[in-house]
Structure formats: structure tokens, C-alpha cells
């Protein structure tokens, strides 16, 4: 599936491509392979689906998207895949995952994220989404983010660097990125 060089390549590019005329050549030099090899490998990793997306990772908060809600729902197991697929097609949603319920303490099995310019907008989008996707029968909770204690892109290399210390940032002035749609989307897990 992937070889040792692929792995090194992912480690080399995960912090970002240089903003320079020949960025892939710069990466190639680090790995002692050719520029063409870098490009072909990245294209293959993308085709294989290991790289879900190759491109600009925006910081939504800095772009005015200051309200970030994680919404959790309790959807009957036999419907969760259908509902999940439906929800993830809505324009306002950037992530949609199924996760295991935790008994009565946390009965939710479907998670989605909505990033919006304000709480009001996000709640409005959620109300529309509930209506449009027929979710009114399912119990849910909306969890807006408050402080961000730590945020960085996923580091997959085995040698992980020590992360930044916690510099709490209050929601509304912080730096978050959305990583999958985590383009703007990244909650891995």
C-alpha cells in the first residue's frame, strides 16, 4: 500500500509545501528522490485515498467563521448510515462521523460539525438541516467550542514533535482550522 519513502514524503509535506517556484523540487531534495517521483507519489497517495485532499488548508476562524458547533445525535443504528450520508451532503456541514454510543451517559452515535460566522447563523443552519433531513425525532445536543487550548495539523510521523504549550484562546479571536472539508475539516478520529 505505502512504502517507507511514501511515509517520509507524508512526514515532509504535512507541515506544508514551500511557497516557491519549484516546491516539489525542494521536497525532493530533502528526501534525495526526484521531483517527478515526489509528484507521482503524491498523485498516487491521493488516488489511493490516503491523502483525502491535497491543497490549501484554510483557517476558518481568521476568515470570519467564529462559531464552531459540534452537533451530536442519537440515530437508530439501522438508519445512521443513511442519515450520515444525507447530512454530509448539506453545504453547511464540514464533517460527519459515526462514533460508538457510551451507554446512557452519552447515547449519541452521529456527529457533525457546522462552522458559521455567528452562533445565530449556526443555530439557524442546524434548524434548517433538522427540517430538511427529517431529524426531528432524534435527540441531539449542540456543543459550541469555547477556548481552544491546542490546535495543529495532524502529525503522523513517528517522531512527533512536542506540541505548543496551551495558550488558551477564547472563541472569537482564536486560531482554528477546519481540516477535512477538515477542507476546512480536521477532526481525525
Amino acid at each position: 500500500m505505502i512504502d517507507a519513502i511514501d511515509y517520509q514524503l507524508i512526514a515532509a509535506v504535512q507541515a506544508g509545501l514551500p511557497i516557491a517556484a519549484r516546491p516539489y523540487a525542494a521536497i525532493a531534495e530533502q528526501l534525495a528522490i526526484t521531483e517527478q517521483d515526489v509528484i507521482e507519489r503524491l498523485a498516487r497517495l491521493k488516488t489511493q485515498g490516503l491523502i483525502k485532499r491535497w491543497g490549501v488548508v484554510v483557517k476558518h476562524r481568521q476568515l470570519g467563521y467564529r462559531a464552531n458547533a459540534m452537533i451530536v445525535m442519537d440515530v437508530p443504528d439501522e438508519r445512521v448510515a443513511r442519515v450520515g450520508a444525507l447530512i454530509s451532503q448539506q453545504a453547511c456541514v464540514n464533517l460527519c462521523y459515526q462514533r460508538p454510543r457510551q451507554g446512557e451517559v452519552w447515547p449519541y452515535n452521529l456527529y457533525c460539525m457546522i462552522h458559521g460566522k455567528s452562533r445565530e447563523v449556526v443555530l439557524e443552519q442546524w434548524a434548517e438541516l433538522r427540517h430538511d433531513c427529517n431529524l426531528s425525532d432524534y435527540s441531539f445536543e449542540v456543543l459550541f467550542s469555547r477556548r481552544c487550548f491546542k490546535q495543529r495539523g495532524a502529525l503522523y510521523a513517528r517522531q512527533m514533535t512536542k506540541g505548543d504549550g496551551p495558550t488558551p484562546v477564547f472563541a472569537g479571536e482564536g486560531r482554528e482550522e477546519i481540516q477535512n472539508k477538515q477542507s476546512l475539516r480536521m477532526h481525525f478520529a
Binding site: 507541515a15 517556484a21 491535497w54 481568521q62 476568515l63 459540534m70 445512521v80 462521523y97 481525525f188
Partner: protein, 151 residues
């Protein structure tokens, strides 16, 4: 205030940034501007923290293991616990959320064993139980965050 060029770069290259020897020149040709303008614009977006990087988003759990973890921490102790959690290199996001489960973080480790060991250690260090919420299915298909950049 973002220039039209910046908006195009933010919205149009989240998924298919060119995989070619001269990607910035290719973008410049697509947009009818010079390569230097594109390089300068990306530099500005990067300096202004509007983009975090140009690079990969890796499919969850394709390399290593990751999981979302939640903890319910009394308000008076939240800062201490959050700091302890953030100090782990395996933790890559750590947020306070408005809920009785008020601390939510994502862990990435190179194996499930490693992941579980870190969680056990976090529970010991902080004195609170952690709720492990691994991903069972990812329903998200369309990628890219459509930015509404109307001023």
C-alpha cells in the same frame, strides 16, 4: 478586506492544488495573473494566518490511530487538566466545549496500543475518566470548505 485573487486562491485550491513542477505558475495561468502575484498572495495569506498550509489532509486512521476523547471536568480544575492534556505530543486539538463533557481532544498515535496507553496515562495524571470515541464511519464525501467571503 480580501482581494479577488486571495478569494480565488482560498476557495478554488483546497482540493486540487496542482501536482506539477510549477504549481504556482499553473495557478497564475489559470487565473490570468503573474506567478509572482500568486506567490505573494499565498505568502500574505500565510502570514495573516488565513491559511495554515498547502498540503495533505490525511484520511483518518489510514496512518496511525486517532480518536476523539471527551472528559467532564469541574470548572475549577479545567485549566489544569487542559494544560496537562495539551502537553502530550499525541494530542493535536484540545478544545473546551459548552457541555457537561467540557474538554474534547483528538489523539493521534502510531498504534492502538500506544493510543490506549496515552489515554490511561491521561486519566491517571488528571484524575478524571476519559470517554474514548473512535470513528466508526466517515460519511463525508464532498471536500473543501466553501467560504462565503462577501465583505
Amino acid at each position: 478586506m480580501l482581494a479577488p485573487l486571495h478569494k480565488r486562491l482560498l476557495n478554488d485550491y483546497q482540493q486540487d492544488f496542482p501536482l506539477s513542477p510549477t504549481p504556482y505558475r499553473d495557478i497564475a495561468e489559470q487565473l490570468g495573473v503573474s506567478e509572482d502575484e500568486v506567490l505573494n498572495a499565498f505568502q500574505t495569506l500565510s502570514e495573516q494566518q488565513m491559511i495554515s498550509r498547502i498540503g495533505p489532509v490525511i484520511a483518518p486512521n489510514s496512518i496511525g490511530n486517532s480518536a476523539l476523547v471527551a472528559m467532564a471536568v469541574p470548572e475549577f480544575d479545567l485549566a489544569r487538566v487542559a494544560e496537562l492534556v495539551s502537553a502530550y505530543p499525541e494530542v493535536n486539538h484540545n478544545y473546551e466545549r459548552e457541555n457537561r463533557f467540557n474538554l474534547w481532544f483528538v489523539l493521534i498515535a502510531d498504534s492502538e496500543t500506544h493510543l490506549k496507553a496515552v489515554i490511561a496515562d491521561i486519566e491517571t495524571q488528571t484524575g478524571y475518566p476519559a470517554m474514548l470515541l473512535p470513528m466508526l464511519a466517515d460519511y463525508f464525501i464532498n471536500l473543501g470548505f466553501e467560504l462565503n467571503l462577501h465583505d
